[in-house]
């Protein structure tokens, strides 16, 4: 075992959430060590659909809606900065996004959800409800089964893989360290500092941030916190590359910057199983073909499953340890949408700054009596 490597902050978890925080801390001048478990870990960041999504998030919890709005608004500058630092085009586009509806009941549900959200907020919450022909004017190629859509003007999408690569490269350029193959086995707190033991080394820092996705469940009690997160599987198919035909993201179908069309997704309670299931893939594909009939003749080249990191109410946990000052837990299931605000306001808090007002409610204790809803 090597001697403990010292840094200002250790971030545990090399996915989108951990990398966003590590980058945000490094750009504030902190020395950062980012510990990544390895390719045998469940890697939500590699299976993500890639939406930067606002519409529908935070019903009943206006703080979450405001936090989401803040991040979506910060995304253009965040992406420009990362591209300027790394030369990597993140393929960010925020032209507004559609939630296509295949029944009148679904469309009516969108109306209730989104107007309720708008009424709960004291800020602008731009969305429109469109019938079939109004949807088709903005989004050609929709099928007859699409009765209409909700259109959120702030919605967008990004390449999650390019984002992850850019964050890790920018972290390294700013002097941060990425240590891979580091499964954390113990976290000790001595004399105001943390000593993190992994299967192959030891790392020391004054602060430690747990951003290990599903791994946070076991890590949090090591620093006097709780992270009652559970897996929820989503499956995605991706097509051959096509010339651009779909210029807006939709909640279930989006065309990537390189031309492939991603078809999502499922919400399955199947434990720690990230494989694909043929019946679920068939359901996803047939829904996508009802939405865009031209996809019926397109070749699918790949399909995968990945595990969302879910709390019982679907909302994040952002919490500082009182028993182990300097330790924090961060978990959410919208690591892409929230990346911009994680790299900015949240990183500032984790580095010793003030806590962003929006996140005060997101403590683990609220979850003790919550029934699982998997709401967004």
């Amino acid at each position: 075992m090597s001697m403990a490597d010292e840094a200002d902050v250790i971030v545990i978890g090399g996915g989108i959430v951990g990398a966003s925080l590590a980058y945000g801390l490094a750009r504030r001048g902190r020395s950062v060590c980012l510990l990544d478990e390895g390719d045998d870990a469940f890697r939500a960041a590699r299976g993500n659909f890639g939406l930067v999504w606002v519409q529908g998030k935070g019903a009943g919890t206006p703080q979450y809606a405001r936090w989401t709005l803040r991040s979506a608004a910060a995304w253009p500058a965040f992406a420009s900065e990362l591209t300027a630092e790394t030369g990597i085009d993140l393929e960010l586009s925020q032209p507004g996004g559609f939630h296509l509806c295949l029944s009148d009941a679904e469309l009516a549900g969108r109306q209730v959800l989104l107007s309720g959200l708008r009424d709960s907020l004291d800020v602008d919450y731009p969305f429109e409800l469109l019938d079939h022909s109004a949807t088709a004017r903005l989004c050609p190629h929709i099928g007859r089964d699409v009765v209409g859509a909700s259109f959120g003007q702030l919605d967008g999408h990004v390449s999650p893989l390019r984002l992850l690569r850019a964050l890790l490269q920018a972290l390294s350029q700013r002097g941060g360290r990425l240590a891979t193959g580091q499964k954390v086995t113990a976290i000790a707190h001595r004399a105001g500092a943390f000593d993190v033991t992994t299967e192959s080394g030891r790392f020391g820092a004054a602060r430690v941030v747990l951003a290990a996705g599903l791994g946070n469940r076991e890590l949090a009690p090591m620093v006097g916190l709780e992270a009652p997160v559970v897996p929820n599987r989503g499956e995605i198919l991706v097509s051959e590359r096509l010339q651009p035909f779909l210029h807006h993201p939709t909640a279930h179908v989006r065309q990537t910057g390189e031309g492939g069309v991603q078809l999502g997704d499922s919400k399955e309670d199947v434990g720690y199983d990230d494989r694909t299931a043929r019946a679920e893939l068939a359901r996803i594909a047939s829904r996508a073909v009802r939405m865009f009939p031209l996809l019926g003749r397109v070749n699918v080249v790949r399909a995968w499953g990945a595990l969302r990191v879910m709390t019982a109410d679907g909302l994040p946990i952002y919490e500082a340890s009182t028993s182990h000052p300097g330790a924090f837990v961060v978990t959410c299931h919208s690591g892409i949408t929230l990346a911009a605000v994680h790299a900015d306001a949240l990183a500032q808090w984790l580095g010793g700054g003030t806590q962003p007002a929006e996140i005060a409610p997101f403590l683990a204790a609220r979850l003790e009596h919550v029934q699982a809803t998997h709401s967004h």
Binding site: L242, Q243, L295, V298
Partner: protein, 102 residues
């Protein structure tokens, strides 16, 4: 560049490649027929535009994608030639909404 090791094996099979007649041999794959006819590259890649030709000839590398009878991005090494088959080499990204109008 390529020549058949058994030039007389298999009955002649006429196929169409980019609108021109090419004589293949029964039992060989589309990829083999294209290589024998000197029809390389089979495609240019969608992102960088790099030329591509078959590498593995056994269904693994996905370099030999061509359009066969109107279906783009088919692995040429995995499809035997058939009389009258219409094969197109691919030099731009598939345009799916144009297929709609066909």
């Amino acid at each position: 560049m390529f020549k058949r090791l058994t030039p007389t094996e298999g009955a002649p099979v006429d196929v169409e490649v980019d609108g021109e007649r090419v004589t293949a041999r029964a039992g060989e794959s589309v990829a083999a027929a294209l290589l024998n006819a000197g029809r390389v590259p089979l495609r240019h890649t969608p992102i960088s535009g790099a030329p591509r030709a078959p590498v593995c000839m056994m269904g693994v590398c996905f370099e030999c994608l061509v359009e066969i009878d109107g279906m783009p991005n088919v692995q040429a090494c995995m499809v035997p030639v058939r009389r009258g088959m219409r094969i197109r080499t691919q030099h731009e990204t598939r345009r799916v909404e144009v297929d709609d109008a066909r």
